[in-house]
Structures are given as structure tokens and as C-alpha cells.
Subunit: 419 residues, 2 copies
Amino acid sequence: MAMKKKPVTGMKDITPREMEIRDYVIRMIKDTYGTFGFSSIETPCVEHIENLSSKQGGENEKLIFKILKRGEKLKIDTAETEMDLVDGGLRYDLTVPLSRYYANNANNLPSPFKALQMGNVWRADRPQRGRYRQFMQCDIDILGEPTILAEIELILATSTLVGKLDFENFTIRINDRRILKAMAACSGFPEESYDTVFIILDKMDKIGKEGVAEELEKEGFAKESIDKYLSLFDEVTEDINGVRRLKELLEGFLDQKIAEELETIIQSVDTVKTAKFQIVFDPTLVRGMSYYTGPIFEISIDGFGGSVGGGGRYDEMIGKFTGQKTCACGFSIGFERIVMLLLERDYQVPSNAGKKAYLIEKNMPGDKLAAIFKEAAEERKNGNIVSVNMMKKNKKFQKEQMTAEGYTEFKEFFCDGIK
Amino acid sequence: MAMKKKPVTGMKDITPREMEIRDYVIRMIKDTYGTFGFSSIETPCVEHIENLSSKQGGENEKLIFKILKRGEKLKIDTAETEMDLVDGGLRYDLTVPLSRYYANNANNLPSPFKALQMGNVWRADRPQRGRYRQFMQCDIDILGEPTILAEIELILATSTLVGKLDFENFTIRINDRRILKAMAACSGFPEESYDTVFIILDKMDKIGKEGVAEELEKEGFAKESIDKYLSLFDEVTEDINGVRRLKELLEGFLDQKIAEELETIIQSVDTVKTAKFQIVFDPTLVRGMSYYTGPIFEISIDGFGGSVGGGGRYDEMIGKFTGQKTCACGFSIGFERIVMLLLERDYQVPSNAGKKAYLIEKNMPGDKLAAIFKEAAEERKNGNIVSVNMMKKNKKFQKEQMTAEGYTEFKEFFCDGIK
């Protein structure tokens, strides 16, 4: 009976080498976020199909792996649509499950609730290099904290983590959805076209200011709005002074407190940071998801295109799901990207453990074998890795193989004594 | 838009308290098995439906969560059976995926290959108290090691782990499928009825020797076979002497080497053990799965009915899957049971970290806030847990709540200075 040897399309077997990195990153995440008081939670990988199809998931709802009803509930004869056949699906993110979890358990949870979630999610995306249909997400969220304490904690926790993973020279960019809107309002764009404007603005780093101007013109926006808009960006530097300047420029369009709070976030992170990174004010930062309501942020590592994490405040979303308004702020770290970067750098997980191999000659008498295992146990107790193996005929090849696995010491045991 | 708040039937949300235990057990498993040279691997949670339906999974194959085909491949109109509708399923154990993994990656894996797998599996079982449809399995397997080094390493690794988790007075029972068969043969039972005999023998601890005799009689077995069979058990003690005696009694029916190897396994484990446990020879140990071919073992914790893990040698199974004969031996630990036991004992995870809460008065100026976060960062750097929170109006209640969460120190920050 032949078995299909490859994993299902778009998913992968994980090698021992990659697992070593993954386990290390998971441990650093749990440890680091733990010191900030985040508590781990977990939800089932399977969710009600209704919860996954509530329109909060956007495009991801088209990518759900759906689960067939079982037993008498499955009626193939009369089924007309997919929804007649299924009752569950694999989660496509951790936000829908978090909302459900919070609605289900709020009475037993502290307020504010600082949650750490790590778990696989599934999306039936077109398979492509480096992107898989099963991947790990890692989110921290603070639910029920309306003040910028949430933003500061999230950014500090994430930057501390990235620093501990030996990344240097990374950048956290921060903006606020309300500043984005005020800049558009102040320039005279009509409110209903903000999203169009932001989608174009989001390309600034790729197409430059001229490109943005061109595309805005193509959309038919007024020349003076475009000029005014772009001039605002000219006036603003990527630091606290930029925030202060914008506060003046946007007077009448922006609640002054919003700029002051953004200033405090930047200032706090700058004061505390120990890792080598910078936090910059980036008025062109948009972040795709329309559910953000306040500060938004993104983290990127210099020399690696694209972000390795992002988040922001989303005070309206959980209420839409659960019917109970709950302010919320979250930061999601790109677990798979970080693992990939560490693998590419051939990252060596810090370890004090020696890696020793015992090679045992055939037909070792029972009492001598027991003594060998006792010796191994002592070494293991001291934190060393000991692999006890039969000595192969081609011992040279065996040692080469084990050396490739990272074993650095070999001890050979013969029936008539140790060599 | 109302959301379903409960998890899907038979699956559960995991609380921060349970996660603390789970994370700790996972860490102990990775650390302990790591010192024995086991490498972690992972496979996708979704498997080809064909691989899951290959008849190796027994009853579990009836409990598969099946995944609907997607896009053009799904043809609801012409579908007649479930298999027309699905192309994947959630894995119901880690053994099928391990076989596929080994077939897919054998060229890049060392030989022998010592694998550690931890991961969720899914079974659409009838929901019942304490049993869930998603649960974690934790298996160690040694592939490609034909000698008892595999058995000894697996038993030592598992008993070391259970000892580290602060369980005392546990018991490892060991037997060998070939001894089971030799005892049946020596008593004169016909070979085709061995499985029937073993199913009855397996009840010895519940119905006693008289019960076993009765049931064997009911099945119509010869009186002298039954008498002979039960007399064998009378002769045998639960230690190495028992194995030696049985070796004599079964001469002509049992390869003497099998008994000697079993003796060496017991002797080695006994010599090495540091935790408080016993390893006993149990000739009534059967283990359900018919795929075992050699030594079998089970671990149970005194005072807790039922086993918390088990395993054995299964030299034929991987070959049936992959077409390439591969000897194999594994030990599976009952992760969910162990977590449940620790929770019931209100187990406190060992930790040196202080748990401190900072309470901050409203409207703290930005520079003072930054200084508070800097102080928190110093404490976190030293391994302490610090949660920075806004001070609530009902501060007494807030502190009570946080005390319940395990916070033992509170520091209050007011706009005009620290209290």
C-alpha cells in the first residue's frame, strides 16, 4: 500500500535544524513577553464556520480550509452549497479566535487582559516560494486598556524580543490613523476618498513623492489638495520634532492630545531602549487593515525588505464581534520571517551543552551496558547532550555523520574496556 | 452580528493557568529529551486523506475531521460519497505523519534517527468529560536501531522526564510481545486465537486470575491449556528473577536471547534510575495495538488509575507504510493526562521571578512615564515579571485581582512622586 510521501500541497515538513531555531524563538518569545506580564492562552485550531465567515476577515475568508460535517448532519444528497456541507474551518488568523475567547471567558480574565497567543493558522493561498498554507502566528494583545500604556508596553516588549534574538539596527515606525485622516482632511480631500488616498500614500517608499502625486492626479483629486498634502510631508521630520510640527500644522483638524500621546510613546520607547534600534515617526505609514483606530506601528530589520511585524490600536473590532465594546491594541510578530532570517544567517542557538556521542561495540554484556548508561545519565544531569549508539562497521563514516549533526566528542566502548 | 462564543463541540479554550503548566511541561520535555539526543520535528496538521485512510489507524480512521476540496476540484453536484468531497484530513495521531516524514526525508536524516514530536491531533470522538477532540500528543521514536539500545534510551528518557516533573513513586511495567506469544504457545493455545487470549489476559488487573480463567473457559479453550497458562503466571515474580524463571519455563518456545535482552533492559534502567520509581516485569502486560513486535512498556503513576504513557517496538509498521522496512521503537507520553494531574495537584511551576505590578496615576507627564518604564525595564532585565498598569479608582479591588493573578509586590506612581 503506497503512501503519498510529500506533505499536502503548500505545507511543509520541518527539519530538525529548523525546529532548533523555531523552539529557540518560541522560548525567547514566551520568556520575554512573560516578563511584561503577558499570559499565554490557546484556542482550538478549528473554529465555527460562522465565526470565520463574518466578513471581519476580509480576503482571508476566501482562503478557509473548511471541515466536513460528520455523521447524520452530513447530507450529501441534498447539499447545494459548500455551507450545507461544513460546520467548521481552520482558523486563518488569531484575532477572530481571540475575540471569541474574550467573549467566552471575560468573567474570569483580569482587566486589562494581556494575552500572548502563538499558534498555527491556515490559508489556502496560491502556493509560492517561502509562503506556506500552514504557518505560525504570534500575537500579543492588551484588551481593556484605553491609554497609551498599551502601545508602549507592546512596542517595548516586541523590540526587547527582537534585540534578544541578536538582530541589530532595526527600525520601528509609528504613526496614528487619526493623524493620517487629519492630514487628508487638512489638505481638502473628501472624507469618502481617504482610503483611496491612503492606498496611494502607502506606496511612497516604492514610487517616491512624484509617483504619489502622479497617481493622486490620475484619481482626479484637486491639484491644490495634492500640493498641500505633499507639502505637509516635506515639513515633517522623522522624530519628535516632526510630531510637534505636525501638531501645529494640523491645528483644527487634529485633537492635540493625539499628537502629544504619540510624542510620549516615542519618548518612552527612546528612553528605555537597550537594543540597537530606532523608533521613528513615519507619517506615510498606513498599515492595510481598516480596523485600526489609533496608533499604528511596524517593525523592520535593516537590510531585509518588508516588515517583520506590525500592529496598532483597534478599539472597535472586538465589540463588532462580541457585542460588547472593548478597547484593544496588539502587536503581531512575523514568526516565520524571523525564523527564515535566522536560518539564512546560519544562526547558532546559544548553548552551554556539550554534544557527546557514545559508540558501543556489539554484544556488550548487560552489566557493562548498564554502567555505560549510568555514565551517560551523569553527563545528561550536568546538562550535556549524550547520544548512545551502536558502533557501526564504518566507524569513520558514522563519526563524520554525527559531526555534521553537531556532535563534538566521541567516546568508544569496547567489550573488553573503553578505548 | 452575533458570534458563537463557545468553542466548537468537544474542543476547549485554554486558560492562562493551564497554559502555564502546559508551557512548563513542554519545556521540560524538550529539555530532557534533548539531552538524550532526540531532535524535534514537525509535520503539517493536515494530511492526505489517502494516508489517513490506509487502515493502519484502526478505529481512529472513523473519527477523522475531513477537509473539503477547494476551487474547481470541488464538485458538489456529482459527489456521491464523502471521499468525492475531501482531499485532506486533520491527523489523528503522530505515527502516520512520522512514517510519511521518514519516507520523505530519510536521505537527509541520520541513522538511527531519534525523533521528538509534539503536536495536536484531532479525533471526532463522542465528547466526554476530560476528553477533547483536539489534544496534544508527545512521541519519541528511534528509527533504524534494531538493538535494545533503543528501548533503554526511550525508557530512561521518559522516566527521567516524569521524575523531573516531580512525580514520585511511579511504575514502569515491561513485557515482550514474543514472550506473550511463547506463553500462549507453551500452554497449547492455537496460534490463531492468541489475540483473543491476550484481550482476556489484559483484564487480569480488573477481574483477577479467576475472572481470566472463567472468560477463557467461556471461549471454549481446553481446560489443561488454561491451567497451564495460569500456572506460568504463578511461577513468575515481577523482577529479573521472574524473567530468568520464565526463560527456563519457556525453553523450546522462546528464543533465549529475548529473555536475556529483557533482563538487560530492566537491569540497565534499574542501575541508572535516579527518580523514585520501579521497573517491573509484567507478563500480563498486553498493550492494545497489534503492530508491536518486541518489548512493550507502560508507565503509570501510583494513586492515579490508568497509564500515563506507553510504547514498544514496532519493526514492521513503517515498512508497511513506506515500502522500505525500517525497525522502530517508540514511547508516547500522555501529555494531557500529565497536565491534568499537575493542575489537580495545584502544581506551582518553579520560578525565581518576582511578580511585580506598577500602578500609575492618571495623567502622568511623558518624561516621568518614560522613567517608570525604564525602571520596569531594569527589573525585567533581571528576570522579574513587571506589569505596568493604570491605577484604577478602586485600587483595593485592583490589587486583590492582581494578587489572585500571582502579583506579590505593588509599587504606586503618582504624578507628584512615588508612594
